[in-house]
Symmetry: C2
């Protein structure tokens, strides 16, 4: 793949990389989006997914069922012509609705200036849209119930385990793309190569999903918000669903989960901390859902590089899994596609150089969003300290209103722009610096004034 | 293994854990030492090593050939009655001999007060002593050329690949111990379990081994030192061998290695930076050894926990591989054994609790020595800034002489005591704090004096 043949695809894009056989491991949101992108660039795509086809499956197991789509995800969907279709059924969330311990609510809009919002989307629905779109490409081939067992990057060979089949399926590809999530088998393989830096860090909190069902075919809470019950050491959030229910995510230390053993303990806990949510969930449903399954682990994964020679590439959670507290996991994964394919469209680029450039460009931003998510893990539970949070929010919003191109608050730059994540952090740092200086100067000025006042009064 | 039967072993030690079948993966220094310890405690030990028996092998491949044995390693060897045998052929190194860029040397003793020293030992020789000692136990069974392919901790089952054998060997054990080094297959398996924190970090420097041979059956440099050529961005060290040669380790950034392509470039490089070492190595040998193999990678590995239920345990590099710049890799691995078996000897302890306690006790110290080694990776190359280094060394030594139980310098506490590594770091921190205050006070006193002097002179 070292020679550089120029070809032009159906969309008239100049492509430097000649058509190749691409194996994508993982048919989730990022894998199916990557498949569309590769196919649009004229490559021959084989997508391998270990689960059955979610479009026909009766019960879909896996990760949380709704997600907050924001700018980076929308941009990536737009580039494959799917943004409108996705937004048509998504539910806009204009801000956070905070629920205090007494059940009182207050609203903090995400962006009072431009009315930007997040969109609550169903994971399964979004995945179906992407898979259906791929079905229309003759150069995309789906292989469900294929679990990657082994990959040899240098040879471009893979073997897959299939249910009820004794013999493994084998396949080859010019490029192997790991879009197979936090526990990626492709990354597992890559981590054995020399020079591959890697870390996985579990947090002390687990999560469990509950449900606030629809009542008389209506939402039981205002739907256009991301509902948050911040309780310092723990936290609950709820996102609206198309069927007018809310998916509720309870997040707390494993030791707190373990402390709740009986139905009575559970109800007492909810009466104390989530008094307004309890009647909405319903006592019976709460008990059923809470004791049905164990709380899930949450972890943060970083690695470097994201590629192996001109043979393999990691995208999405496989490259950078993060704790869910910034709502950027899916968005960052989809943005990986935007960035990788914009590199691939550069004139005269080779595949090896494109992969290398992707690592060079993306690693620091992926690490930055992992860190931000971890930071928000503390910040979000702490929103009870609402006065300082609201003060800063007010200040940020005011400055943003007057200097929209200069003063973009951190949350807005992360959620509503495509600014590189590392730049979002750098931005916040100089904003902090300026505020510190302004407050310092104000304090100095105030002290000088009062000094002068005392002096004058004592004259 | 939950019941607690008290039994007494051959040494009269009270043992709370009834005899069990222990599989040790890895027959290197830590694995063979662990085997001896388990056997002395009455357990039935099976040791699996992927290489052939080094005692009969013609060519031993693997890691660096000589090592600096210090207090922690000696203590662990002493507890299995092997310290004397090892020290009999080891070469004491009383300090660092620093070689400057002009070839001038100076000596910095490790411990001018008590004459503590490091011992240069051959890896192969030490490993042979340990394996031979194990041979004497009827309850130790060696299985060479057995490479762990799979392990199921819950079932206690393992399968091994063997050369020239199509079928894998299978085995079971009550406890599986991973002493299989930095690229541990046991840890690999453990890293897939939920809640296992892990990081691997490669450094920018690689290393290559060279040799200063004996001349007329004599050492070409004073033997009782660890020779160091610190050159800021890179570094060379040499340790004496029994056969009167020195093993030289050249450590520098990969990009510097890559910059040396021709014989002439290599010789020019050595003439510039290692002028005194070049004639000792010999130009012909240098060229041969330098271009014979690629520089090796160096990495730091941390994880937590070190155990899985009452089923598996990690020891040595498998649990905490470190860069070699503090000479503590082997010593820390051997100390793992001292600590684990001292826990195991506690009355009424269960295996599950012993493993848990090992993680609780050891993780922070293992992380501490990994960090210290990484810190010394910069410090050691920087010894050219010798004035400040020697000042601090002088100060530390003087204080140590007057307050030997209070002021133990960092290097000495790490190398010549069994103080927990994390405490060594904490110690250094308060020492730094005190020195800062004393120097602050001295400066203040000096300024006050000179102020008074000026005042008096101006009267």
């Amino acid at each position: 793949m070292s020679e550089c043949i120029k070809n032009v695809n159906a969309n008239g894009t100049n492509l430097s990389i000649p058509p190749m056989k691409v194996a994508i491991i993982g048919g989730g949101l990022v894998g199916s989006l990557a498949a569309l992108n590769f196919a649009r660039n004229g490559h021959n795509v084989h997508l391998y997914e270990y689960r059955e086809d979610i479009r026909t499956a009766e019960l879909v197991q896996g990760r949380s069922i709704n997600l907050a789509l924001s700018q980076r995800g929308r941009k990536a969907l737009s580039s494959v012509g799917l943004e409108e279709e996705v937004l048509a059924t998504a539910i806009p969330m204009r801000g956070r609705m905070l629920h205090d311990i007494k059940g009182r609510t207050s609203v903090v809009l995400y962006d009072p200036c431009t009315n930007e919002c997040l969109y609550s989307v169903g994971r399964k629905h979004l995945n179906e849209i992407l898979l259906n779109a791929g079905e229309k490409f003759p150069n995309i081939h789906y292989h469900f119930e294929h679990k990657l067992k082994k990959a040899n990057f240098n040879e471009g060979s893979m073997s897959f385990q299939r249910p009820y089949e004794e013999k493994d399926a084998v396949a080859t590809a010019d490029l192997i793309v790991g879009a197979d999530g936090a526990f990626s088998a492709v990354r597992q393989q890559m981590s054995k190569t020399l020079g591959f830096n890697y870390s996985q860090e579990y947090i002390e909190h687990g999560y469990l999903e509950l449900c606030i069902p629809a009542k008389n075919d209506e939402f039981q809470m205002p739907p256009n918000y991301l509902h948050i019950w911040p309780r310092n050491e723990f936290m609950m959030i709820a996102l609206p669903n198309q069927d007018k229910s809310f998916t509720v995510t309870l997040s707390m230390p494993f030791k707190v989960f373990q402390g709740i053993q009986s139905h009575q303990e559970l109800l007492d806990f909810f009466r104390k901390y989530y008094t307004d949510a309890l009647p909405l969930i319903g006592e019976e449903m709460l008990i059923k859902d809470f004791f049905k399954s164990k709380p899930q682990f949450l972890l943060s994964i970083k690695c470097n590089p994201f590629h192996y020679g001109d043979k393999a590439l990691l995208l999405g959670d496989a490259a950078h899994a993060m704790v869910p507290y910034y709502g950027q996991g899916m968005n960052a994964g989809m943005e990986d596609c935007s960035i990788f394919f914009s590199i691939l469209h550069q004139p005269h680029i080779t595949l090896a150089r494109a992969l290398e450039q992707f690592t060079e460009t993306r690693v620091q931003d992926a690490h930055a969003i992992c860190d931000l998510a971890m930071y928000n893990y503390v910040e979000m539970r702490d929103l009870t300290k609402r006065f300082s949070f609201k003060c800063r929010k007010f200040l940020d919003t005011t400055l943003f209103r007057f200097f929209p191109s200069v003063w973009v608050p951190l949350y807005n730059s992360v959620s509503f722009t495509s600014m590189p994540y590392s730049k979002c952090i750098a931005n916040r740092e100089w904003q902090d610096e300026i505020l510190k200086k302004v407050f310092g100067a104000t304090l100095f000025f105030a002290l000088t004034l009062s000094g002068a006042f005392i002096y004058v009064n004592n004259m």
